[in-house]
């Protein structure tokens, strides 16, 4: 243990020590200051009103103990409020009243102690300025030798170096110890499945009907008027027993109908829409927020998180914001009964980038 060689002795009243310190720099911080300025020392001590006027001191004293009494009142009020405003009914406003009253009491109790203590220290406690010299960082030679000896003795007595089998087995045990945690964390990830594969595919397959979120009612192409926006989930999503939310998070689709003349489609995707009805993934390609702020006149889709804008009329190309890729389009068609179905899954992974997706 390093001893504080000058502990306690370096606190001196202002004015008596500052000049001596200037002459003899302490050995630990012996930096020669070539053009150092003279330590001006403290400004002259100014007495407070409470030092000079006993009446003012009395007032300050009263203020301090009033604060402490207020703290007691706060604590007692908190206990009382907990009983006066019970949370027994199901009304959420009772919870609010209980929390609010209890919290106000506890806040008063703590704040009043704090303000009282600070005011006490500032107005009434001894306030002559003191200098506490920083002691040298390097310990004395004896202290350093002592510390080394402590380690050597401990090594001798425990046999840490001598009994190497014990030492090495201990190190081995410590290394193996975190492994169960690693296994547990691995257990959180999907089993027997490649995460890349999971991220690349959704519930949509050829012939899956487009259904309304949340009811799961299938949608006919004739139901959709121009200017409409339908929030869509794949048929069968509501019946899934496992991973329903995970599947919804990947498969959510926004269905819109534009005037076919306003839709600029590339030739290779011309049959992906149906009479101006287009379906796009609702998951932003930036960080995966649901993009659903659709403006039916401008055909712009706005992502509320980081203001990426996609132009639905041009295959959802990015026209503003941090997203780097257009929203993936779901190829759709109409089945024999007039219901909208998917032609296939999305042709690219939906949502934000991941390690294997460039």
């Amino acid at each position: 243990m390093a001893q504080d060689d000058n502990g306690g002795t370096d606190i001196a009243a202002a004015g008596s020590s500052s000049h001596e310190h200037e002459v003899a720099a302490s050995p630990g911080t012996a930096v020669v200051v070539a053009d150092g300025f003279e330590n001006p020392g403290f400004p002259p001590h100014r007495k407070r009103v409470t030092d000079e006027d006993p009446k003012k001191a009395k007032t300050a004293e009263r203020a301090v103990y009033t604060m402490f009494y207020l703290s007691i009142v706060g604590s007692v009020w908190a206990i009382a409020a907990y009983m006066i405003f019970p949370m027994e009914s199901n009304d959420v406003f009772d919870v609010r009243l209980n929390n609010l009253s209890f919290g106000l009491g506890v806040s008063l109790a703590l704040l009043a102690i704090g303000f009282g203590a600070v005011h006490w220290a500032k107005a009434l406690m001894h306030d002559v300025e003191l200098v506490d010299e920083r002691h040298p960082v390097r310990g004395s030679e004896e202290t350093r030798a002592g510390a080394v000896k402590v380690f050597q003795d401990a090594d001798q007595e425990s046999g840490f170096t001598r009994r190497s089998v014990i030492r090495n087995s201990l190190i081995g045990a410590l290394v193996v110890f975190p492994l169960p945690a690693v296994v547990l964390f691995r257990g959180l990830a999907p089993q027997d499945q490649d995460p890349v594969e999971l991220l690349s595919h959704t519930m949509w397959t050829q012939g899956t009907r487009l259904t309304l979120d949340p009811s799961g009612v299938p949608i006919k192409a004739s139901d959709i008027t121009i200017g409409s926006a339908f929030h869509v989930i794949p048929e069968g999503l509501n019946e899934l027993e496992h991973h329903r939310l995970e599947e919804k998070a990947k498969a959510a689709v926004l269905l819109m109908r534009l005037n076919p003349e306003e839709l600029n489609e590339t030739p290779d995707r011309a049959d992906w829409s149906y009479q101006g009805i287009v379906a796009y993934s609702k998951i932003c390609t930036h960080v995966g927020c649901p993009v659903a702020l659709y403006e039916q006149h401008t055909h712009h889709l706005l992502c509320p998180c980081h203001q990426s804008q996609f132009d639905v009329a041009n295959h959802c190309e990015v026209i503003f914001g941090p997203a780097k890729r257009p929203l993936p389009q779901l190829p759709i068609a109409v089945d024999d009964e007039g219901y909208l179905v998917a032609q296939s899954d999305f042709t690219e992974p939906v949502g934000p980038s991941f390690w294997e997706r460039h």
């Binding site: 609010l100 600070v118 306030d127 979120d213 008027t225």
Partner: protein, 263 residues
């Protein structure tokens, strides 16, 4: 103390009465008189006269932009087939006649009386089939608020905010706040898709579901948030600004007080 504060934070009972009265005036008023099946002939006669009145009003006030026969011009779209609901919404909330061209027509003091609005609505409805002004039982808030809340979160909350406080869109456009909007106007907005709002027809959101959504909006208006100060229900923006200014301000003030020398 707290309970009385909570009570004053709510809408006063008079406001609910006024809201109901407003809804009744819009929906009940002229429309109820026309839609009674007992005096069909009389209704026909009144309707024809109403349409004639509406046409005069239209040509005097709307034809500059929408054309003399509502066929549309470069300054304004065709109104053939938009239906009575669209006119009742646009004129009944003061959005039309438009004050000036801009990112979007804003709500302003209503320019026509309820009767004139109905006349305009039925004139435009006579030009082509379109959504009609909804029946009273669909807009009086007697539905299932929980179902309405789920539908609102899926279909509306991304633009209008989960508490209906409204939000920004692109290039100066915005989704308006939905508090203090009458049920009938909310219904009409859903079926007609005014301005950049998408259309939510009856096959997307059924009339009963629309009634549930209106019920939810009226519920959150009458039952304010139990969490205390709402700060406009704008979420992290206003809450963050509040804590940034007042929370940090308090900490700075206390720090200054602690370190200042006593007198």
């Amino acid at each position: 103390m707290t309970s009385s504060k909570r009570r004053t934070g709510r809408r006063s009972p008079l406001a609910t009465v006024a809201l109901l009265a407003l809804g009744l005036v819009f929906t009940g008023g002229a429309y109820a008189a026309f839609s009674t099946g007992t005096a069909q002939a009389e209704v026909e006669a009144t309707s024809q006269q109403t349409i004639e009145e509406g046409k005069k009003l239209f040509q005097a006030n709307c034809a500059t932009c929408h054309g003399l026969d509502a066929q549309g011009t470069e300054a304004g779209p065709s109104l053939v087939g938009v239906g009575a609901a669209a006119v009742d919404f646009q004129v009944g909330t003061g959005r039309m006649p438009m004050q000036m061209q801009g990112p979007q027509a804003e709500q302003k003091p209503v320019q026509f009386t309820d009767e004139q609005t109905k006349q305009l609505a039925y004139y435009v409805a006579s030009l082509g089939p379109g959504p009609d002004i909804p029946a009273d039982h669909l807009v009086n808030g007697g539905g299932d608020a929980a179902n309405g809340a789920e539908l609102f979160r899926i279909n509306c909350a991304m633009c209008h905010n989960v508490a209906g406080a409204g939000g920004a869109l692109t290039e100066g456009k915005y989704a308006p706040a939905l508090n203090d909007v009458s049920g009938v106007h909310i219904y009409e907005a859903m079926v007609t898709g005014p301005q950049n709002m998408p259309v939510f027809n009856d096959l997307n959101i059924t009339p009963e579901d629309k009634r549930d959504i209106i019920t939810y909006l009226q519920y959150i208006q009458d039952n304010r948030s139990p969490g205390g100060f709402e700060l406009g229900s704008l979420g992290p923006v206003s809450e963050g600004l509040f804590i940034w200014i007042f929370g940090l301000g308090t900490i700075v003030a206390i720090t200054v007080w602690i370190t200042a020398k006593s007198n």
